[in-house]
């Protein structure tokens, strides 16, 4: 460096030598990063646009409220029932796990439990399908309930983690005030801590439902042989449901079936997008309210 040209105080302050190259590299990297983000958004837009434009042609009142072949009412009803049953199982357990993590567990119990939740969250959904098949379907019959168990396992870690985050935000002062009044632990948990966190718990549950509602792999093994004409709310028999029906229609290769599948995809995607966007906004708001 010292062997370079003498320092000239009058030289203009412009990039020269390798600085010009370095700045070019930097600018190219910025451009590439921006391009990557634009590409991801473009793919999302392309998928949503395709689903919306092709699905809109299929959807009318008959499509939503009547059975096969004019509509997909039974599938919608079945998916609704399965999701409700799954949530009825996953939500209480998930919230209790979150309570255990925030109220009772020391770091020794919390570590393994958190790892368990992470592992549950990482289980491939087809594995859960095999699991419920072996546990509930094999040598018996397919049922919406078996599917609901698989979906409950998918929802459980999401609900537990979401609720835990909100429970941690419940102000210490509230708990301390409750303790100072001599209120028993269980009473302050049920009447002070949980109600304060309720909004956040409900929205994380909605997020979990949105994630589980479109799961297909477990239902292929648990609830795939059904009559697309019959409206049924009995979870102990095989129930028609949206994801499996889309899957079947896509395998059949029949253009009318494709239109029907696009219509169902549009219904499912709009439910998921609205539920997750809405829940996310609400969650951010209730977190802000709790932490302020």
């Amino acid at each position: 460096m010292s062997a370079g040209p003498a320092f000239d105080p009058a030289a203009p302050l412009t990039p020269s030598g390798n600085l010009r190259r370095r700045q070019a590299v930097s600018r190219a990297a910025e451009l590439a990063a921006t391009a990557a983000a634009v590409a991801a958004i473009a793919v999302l837009a392309l998928i949503v646009y395709t689903v919306a434009s092709r699905g809109a042609k299929a959807i009318d009142l008959d499509f939503i409220f009547t059975g096969y072949p004019t509509g997909v009412g039974p599938m919608l009803l079945g998916t609704l029932t399965i999701s409700l049953v799954a949530t009825a199982m996953a939500m209480p357990i998930g919230v209790l796990i979150a309570l255990f993590l925030t109220e009772y567990a020391g770091s020794r119990a919390a570590g393994p439990l958190r790892l368990t939740l992470d592992l549950l969250n990482g289980l491939p959904s087809i594995i859960l399908g095999l699991f419920v098949f072996a546990l509930l379907v094999d040598h018996k019959q397919q049922s919406g309930f078996a599917g609901a168990v698989a979906l409950a396992i998918i929802e459980l870690p999401l609900i537990a983690r979401g609720s835990q985050e909100v429970l941690l935000l419940v102000p210490k002062s509230l708990r301390e005030a409750s303790d100072a009044l001599g209120v028993a632990r269980w009473r302050s948990v049920l009447t002070v801590v949980l109600p304060t966190a309720l909004g956040g718990i409900v929205t994380s549950t909605v997020l979990a439902v949105a994630r589980a509602a479109g799961e297909t792999a477990p239902l292929i093994l648990a609830s795939s042989v059904f009559d697309p004409k019959s409206f049924s709310v009995n979870p102990f028999e095989s129930m028609p449901n949206v994801p499996v029906w889309i899957y079947k229609l896509s395998e059949e290769g029949n253009p009318e079936g494709f239109t029907e599948a696009w219509g169902m995809s549009l219904l499912l995607v709009s439910f998921i997008l609205f539920a997750s966007l809405g829940a996310r906004a609400l969650l951010a708001r209730s977190k802000r309210k709790l932490s302020s």
């Binding site: 370095r22 190219a28 991801a40 796990i97 399908g129 396992i153 632990r185 009473r187 292929i220």
Partner: protein, 329 residues
């Protein structure tokens, strides 16, 4: 409650609260703890039970084929011979392709979100990228089947074959576009949001003093990223990629819709193939024999082992990294 104050009442809470109430409180406290503990145990038991049921379902195939099942490549349900070699190959190819293509894009998106995008753009694009993960796989697969596969077949395959045709992986184009290549592209779309959102959180946590220090020494933005941001988060990013890998390995539905269900090992990416997960989804509902079912369960065992392993390694790296991070602060 009490209107008259006796001297005993000043002694403490015990004197004021009725014994019945106290006993009730103690009982309810224990009960609440008990149910919470029970819920936690249910979660742990679920993992164990899942493992047990899958291995139990695979038992006939495990005792018949032993470990050779893992690398044997013949899969002929009609003749009762099963081997996972070809689907293991398919899984390795599709997942590594998805990761090789998806990870750099996802990391670039995360860098864009943390370092380049102004606040408002970040608030819009961040959630949108995560929404990409919310699209159900069956719909992504359906889109892949009807929109992406024809495009791949008519445009991308001839282009790549023309350019790199001397490499065996870019073989001659096929008639349908249902191929390992298309499946890998779908998986790429699936892993990007996972890796991007975790990496973004990591990049946000990089101490600004370090970045400002580098910038003050004359580093360009890219040099700050190369020299500061990526090295301090490297292990976390690797963990994020492993989580993405776990997602790619286990995806059954979307892959089974676009991969074309081939049963041979082919050099060309444009040929149909199959993966562990997609083979289960495709063949299980129509499984011919108990042995066929058990073999599919065996694929499930392999998938479970690989999936849990990548997840555990990711957690381990993530935890080590978190530890290093707190020490550095």
């Amino acid at each position: 409650m009490a209107t008259t104050v006796s001297p005993a009442a000043r002694v403490g809470r015990g004197a004021r609260v009725s014994p019945l109430r106290r006993r009730l409180d103690r009982f309810a406290d224990r009960a609440l703890f008990g149910i919470c503990l029970l819920a936690a145990l249910i979660a742990a038991a679920t993992i164990v039970l899942v493992g047990y049921q899958i291995v139990d379902g695979a038992a006939p195939a495990i005792s018949k084929f032993g470990f050779a099942f893992v690398y044997e490549t013949t899969w002929q349900p009609n003749f009762g011979t099963f081997g996972a070699g070809s689907v293991l190959f398919g899984t390795a190819i599709t997942s590594s392709f998805a990761l090789l293509l998806g990870a750099p894009i996802a990391i670039a998106i995360a860098l864009f979100l943390t370092l380049l995008a102004p606040g408002k753009v970040r608030g819009v694009i961040g959630p949108l990228v995560e929404l990409l993960a919310a699209i159900p796989s069956v719909i992504l697969g359906f889109w892949g089947l009807l929109v992406l596969a024809p495009f791949v077949q008519s445009k991308i395959e001839p282009f790549l074959h023309g350019l790199f045709g001397f490499l065996p992986i870019f073989g001659a184009q096929q008639t349908t576009g249902l191929s390992v290549f298309t499946a890998s592209l779908i998986l790429t779309i699936m892993v990007i949001p996972i890796i991007a959102s975790i990496s973004r959180d990591l990049f946000t946590a990089v101490p600004p003093e370090l970045q400002d220090g580098a910038a003050a020494l004359g580093a360009t933005r890219w040099e700050v990223v190369r020299g500061i941001v990526l090295p301090t988060t490297a292990s976390g990013v690797v963990a994020a990629c492993l989580l993405g890998l776990g997602r790619a390995l286990g995806e059954a539905i979307a892959v089974s819709q676009v991969i074309g269900a081939g049963s041979e090992i082919q050099a060309s990416l444009f040929e149909p193939g199959d993966t562990l997960a997609s083979r289960i989804a495709l063949q299980f509902p129509g499984a011919l024999t108990e042995l066929h079912k058990a073999s599919l369960f065996y694929l499930g065992v392999m998938l479970l082992v690989i999936g849990l392993a990548s997840n555990l390694v990711a957690q381990w790296i993530g935890r080590r990294f978190a530890y290093a991070g707190t020490v550095a602060k």
